[in-house]
Amino acid sequence: MASPAPKSPEQSEKNRKYDRQLRLWGDHGQASLEGAHVCLINATGLGTEILKSLVLPGIGAFTIVDGKKITDEDIGANFFLDSESISKSRAQVATQMLLELNPDVRGDYVDEGPEQILSNSPDFFNNFAVVVATALPEKAIILLSKKLWELDIPLIICRSLGFVAHIRVQVREHTVIETHPDNENPDLRLDKPFESLKKHMDSINLEEMDLKDHSHLPYSIILYKYLDKWVTEHGDLPKNYKEKQELRESIRSGIRIDEHGIPIDEENFEEAMRAVNTCVSRTTVPSGVMEVLNDDRCINLTAKSSSFWIIAKAIRDFMENEGLGLLPLKGAVPDMTADTEKYIALQQIYHKQAVADAEAVWRRTLQLLRQLGRSSDSISEKDVKLFCRYAGDIHVERGSCIADEYDSKTTNANEIAQSLENPESMMVYYVVLRGVEKFQAEYNSYPGEFDDHVEPDIVKLKSCISKLLGEWGCGPLAKDDYVHEFCRYGGSELHSVSAFLGGLAAQETIKFITNQYKPIHNTFIYDAVTSNSATFAF
């Protein structure tokens, strides 16, 4: 052989173990996951279900905060606890059980309640990637949400109550580079070819090619040629269906014919005609991206700005200068029917330009870092490249502080009132859940928790709910059924509902950690009786 034989690539055990998920979030997503430390407050059945779905895919580390001892009820709700663990520390036993699921994961626990920790060691939460909490009382929710809002750490509050699941996501600002849009159009710049692309395109003469070359030309070149002709004739790109159809017809007319006058099977021309829809449009900067680039956080960087904003600013500067108003080129070329030489030639042109654009953005990033007095290695070139690749679909999520919902001055009372007017709306669950929290705060138990209290609890819960509705300026609930239902649940947790919600909450946690996919905005409620669900934005 011509070269010394390299060894067969080793597939580490880890890569094999995570193969099926790497196909969803990539190795960089996996790296983020493995670098993250999450905190779970309260190792309830739901809490352990959430952590289980984070430990299996290989979260870096977790810490359980839970001051409770294991009871009979925990054993009924938590798969990993057996009757021998009764009266042991719930945090400790859950930590041990979860660590057995994946030897790659580190885990520890604190045998204290969250309120204690908040008052005794206020810095405790500073270094978590995400904090997830279950079965948290009202008071603790308010304290924790304020603290984490201040720290700019995402908080996910979950509740599994009878047949109802509720999740509230709090994030001050969350930036997403890889949103994984449903349909990403190729960034071919046929309408605004960069210099090397134009040169390449112009060097090709369709008419003079022999048949073999003609039918092995990548479709984007064909498209460019006919589009160029179109623009020369019409002065603009084809804009509507009719004009695009005309362009397609003109491409069709370019298909060669054989000696019998029958058009030859030229797949690349067929592809070009099909690509008219996706590839023939004006290359612009999407308005959503423009909004992000014009955000105050982008324009006015500070020493504390995150990499996202610094790179965003670098891209903005790039656009205003060498980018000529456009985002950095993505550089990817879709698969095309073509021979390797021609395809690779084209691929190289896009690739080189994308590299050049990314380098320009990288240089601007370094410049910004210098100006901000930050070390040049605080952002890697790889991060900049990734950003450039997905710049057309970036997203900034801005949420609200949960504590605001507990203050009648700041809560979104209008939204509640309006939703309640619709008898189909699931807002009523939110109202009852808030009533249950209030009930808990006042009576230190769940409504209906004790069999002989169900009837009086219904009355008490109703009065908690009326108080809330009064604060929000809303009329009474149309029906009582929900109040009765929640009292019937008596605060118990159904494992299947917790399993469902556990998966969902873990999914949101992974979105925050990997900076991929847009998170839920920001409240999700599920009724397992009817299979209905809804999201609300507070």
């Binding site: 173990k17 193969d19 289980k52 009924g76 709700a77 829809n277």
Partner: protein
């Protein structure tokens, strides 16, 4: 634990939970979660069946398994782990295939309900039929990446698994694979076939050597080849005439058999003779065979001719790949040079031949089974596919991508499985409460839909399709095939077993009482090689088909349909529930409910046994039976042409979501198929995955937990 839910569940539900007996089919990602949920809810009579053993790639989600369990039975370990936490539950496990005749009607009738947690269509079809026959409610579920779905199947009340036609698997003409590949997938399919030829089960349909019967090679217009039996001989003569001395050396003999293969020592035999010498194998496969192909010079008049490779001079540079080269990647995601492919090939051949030898020492005649998670098997296919791609000037792929395509990998994560398994058990409650009407199908989406829903329920339980060829009161189907060509054996294996998923069919000609296929051994073997016509099956013949094991009877009406030309990508036969479906699409009134379009996850396929499967995006019904967009010079018949037109239009739409522009196209689509509307307007993500130019298969579930595939014999020696 039932105590803690006493207030939540009605007394009757509590009792039902305690008294019922349930079956979980599949102990993979969803199966493990379901088992846990059932145990935690107080179910105490559970049976679980799975054929598979635990693989490392299961551990990221199948939480009842740990590293020390790799290689053990999934069903056994799932039970064992569940019992360590909850010793009081009664769990019975079977390390077996659910399609085995040990699990007949009386087995299914034992259960109050059955929950499927499968990964392949064959097993799903089978359990579907068994549950219909036993009249036991079935909860069907599946996940693919972030998406998933759960549905109830109950005889007479709901759609069954086979009520809506599923996309058929995509097949490639043999000569494309063997002679004129033009896409990476063609090379990957070839490489998998090569694996089987060298190390696996010998399948004559998977020949990898040049196909001398390729009609195109004769240099005539394809239009002349509609009747290919007539031309085959002509082709042979010409080919033989072309045989160059260089290519005819050694192993290559000049005799062609009727399948168009040049008769010779089998590839396996030849490889054994040269002791799996990597260089010799390489030279034969990537030099001599290519030279032979080059000699069929009519193939290369309009194509770029392949370039034979010389083992001593393999190119060292990394050629471009079709994937974004900027993307940083795993080692697995880097592009290999051809020189590297050569060395990977060498090492894989050495390891695989050793493994083959080892397994044959213990049981002679045994063979390896291709497994995407086996490093050597996967290395071999990746290297061979890329070498062949290079030879034919086709973009190469990374090992990572080839693994997806060759293994039909469905991404799988713990979170989605947890969500879906939760919903499965919530459905089970409704069934136990006899509230079956509340078991609406539920779809979990990757993203919110326009109504801000992540979890989308149907409005009501979808009623059965009255024309379903499985659950209709008297199931009927139409088989359109060439009765002068199709043999009884093909009818049995390709149509009844492979396509219609029967296990042991009996076939009788209606009105004549002649049994043409019997499930009893030795009764009808004499018919095997006869054509349908020879045993008296012609246009209009009605066949009574029975599968006693599945308790399934089907009436099949045969329609004569001329066999498509060899180069045509349309299948050899069509099978539909409704002969209306054979008419041009414009005339079809679809039986599928429009409501199924609100986020339905593609039902998934076997991941091991097939090459590739198309997603269901394009028009349903007989879509798969229509020739692909490919233009043929030969105007076949009007029906086919019309279909093609519509399909081409829809293909435009798959790539786009531009609505205003394509009104016209849409109009066509809408008038044709109401069910397609939403699918067109909401393009599905798999169409736009950057790296799946050959639709990766999305099936309901896992990639591994095959509680079914009866063919599976032996895992590779690890």
């Amino acid at each position: 634990m039932a105590a803690s839910i006493s207030g939540v569940f009605s007394e009757s539900l509590q009792n039902a939970i305690l008294q019922c007996k349930v079956l979980i089919v599949g102990a993979g990602g969803i199966g493990c979660e379901i088992l846990k949920n059932l145990v935690m809810t107080g179910f105490n009579d559970i049976e679980i069946i799975d054929l598979d053993t635990i693989d490392v790639s299961n551990l990221n989600r199948q939480f009842l398994f740990h590293k020390q369990h790799v290689g053990k039975s999934k069903a056994a370990v799932a039970k064992e782990t569940a019992l360590t936490f909850n010793p009081d539950v009664k769990i019975v496990h079977y390390h077996d295939s659910i399609t085995s005749s040990d699990y007949g009607l009386s087995f299914f009738k034992k259960f109050t309900l059955v929950m499927n947690a499968l990964d392949n269509r064959a097993a799903r079809n089978h359990v579907n039929r068994m549950c219909l026959a036993a009249d036991v409610p079935l909860i069907e579920s599946g996940t693919a990446g972030y998406e998933g779905q759960v549905e109830l199947i109950k005889k007479g009340l709901s759609q069954c698994y086979e009520c809506t036609p599923k996309a058929a698997q995509k097949t490639f003409p043999g000569c494309t694979i063997r002679n004129t590949p033009s896409e990476p997938i063609h090379c990957i399919v070839w490489a998998k076939h090569l694996f089987n030829q060298l190390f696996g089960e010998d399948d004559p349909d998977q020949d990898v050597s040049p196909d001398t019967a390729d009609p195109e090679a004769a240099g005539k217009q394809r239009v002349l080849f509609q009747k290919w039996d007539f031309n085959v001989f002509g082709v042979f003569n010409e080919i033989l005439f072309f045989l160059p001395d260089t290519a005819a050396e050694g192993a290559l003999q000049n005799e062609s058999n009727d399948k168009g293969n040049v008769d010779r020592v089998s590839t396996r035999g030849w490889a054994e003779n040269c002791d799996y010498d990597a260089e010799k194998l390489f030279t034969k496969l990537f030099h001599d065979d290519i030279k032979y192909l080059l000699s069929m010079d009519n193939l290369w008049k309009k194509r770029r001719p392949p370039t034979p490779l010389d083992w001593s001079y393999l190119p060292d540079g990394v050629a471009g790949c079709s994937k974004d080269t900027m993307e940083s990647g795993l080692k697995d995601q880097q592009q290999w040079s051809i020189a590297k492919c050569g060395s990977v090939f060498k090492e894989a051949v050495a390891n695989l031949s050793k493994a083959l030898k080892t397994c044959q020492e213990t049981s002679p005649g045994d063979h390896l089974v291709w497994d995407k998670d086996d490093q050597n098997a996967m290395d071999f296919v990746a290297a061979c596919a890329n070498i062949r791609a290079h030879i034919f000037g086709i973009p190469q792929k990374t090992r990572f991508d080839i693994k997806s395509m060759a293994g039909n990998i469905i991404p799988a994560i713990a979170t989605t499985n947890a969500i879906i398994a939760g919903v499965v058990v919530l459905h089970a409650f409704r069934i136990l409460e006899h509230n079956l009407k509340a078991c609406r199908s539920v779809y979990l989406r990757l993203k919110m839909n326009h109504r801000n829903q992540l979890l989308v329920p149907e409005k009501f339980v979808n009623p059965p399709n009255p024309k379903c060829y499985v659950c209709a009161p008297t199931p009927q189907a139409v088989l359109a095939a060439d009765t002068t060509k199709m043999t009884i054996k093909e009818l049995d294996e390709t149509v009844l077993k492979a396509r219609l998923n029967m296990i042991a069919p009996d076939v009788m000609i209606d009105g004549k009482g002649i049994v043409v296929i019997s499930s009893e051994e030795g009764e009808t073997e004499g018919n095997n090689e006869k054509t349908l016509e020879q045993v008296g099956i012609r246009d209009g013949t009605v066949l009574k088909v029975d599968d006693f094991h599945q308790n399934y009877s089907l009436t099949v009406t045969v329609l004569q349909r001329e066999q498509p030309s060899v180069k045509d990508e349309s299948p050899d036969f069509l099978i539909v529930a409704d002969d209306e479906d054979l008419k041009p699409k414009e005339d079809i009134t679809i039986s599928e409910k429009p409501s199924t379009s609100n986020g339905k996850v593609e039902k998934v396929e076997d991941d091991d046994d097939i090459d590739i499967v198309e997603t269901e995006i394009s028009p349903s019904t007989s879509e798969a039976d229509v020739p692909k967009k490919r233009k043929t010079e030969s105007p076949t018949n009007n029906t086919i042409n019309k279909k093609r037109k519509v399909e081409t239009n829809n293909q435009h739409d798959d790539d786009v979501c531009i609505i205003e522009d394509d009104r016209e196209v849409e109009k066509v689509a809408l008038s044709v198929l109401p069910a397609i509307e939403e699918k067109i307007l909401t393009p599905r993500k798999y169409k736009s995955l950057p790296d799946d130019d050959c639709s990766i298969v999305y099936d309901g579930n896992e990639d591994q937990s095959t509680a079914s595939s009866p063919k599976r014999s032996k895992q590779l020696a690890k």
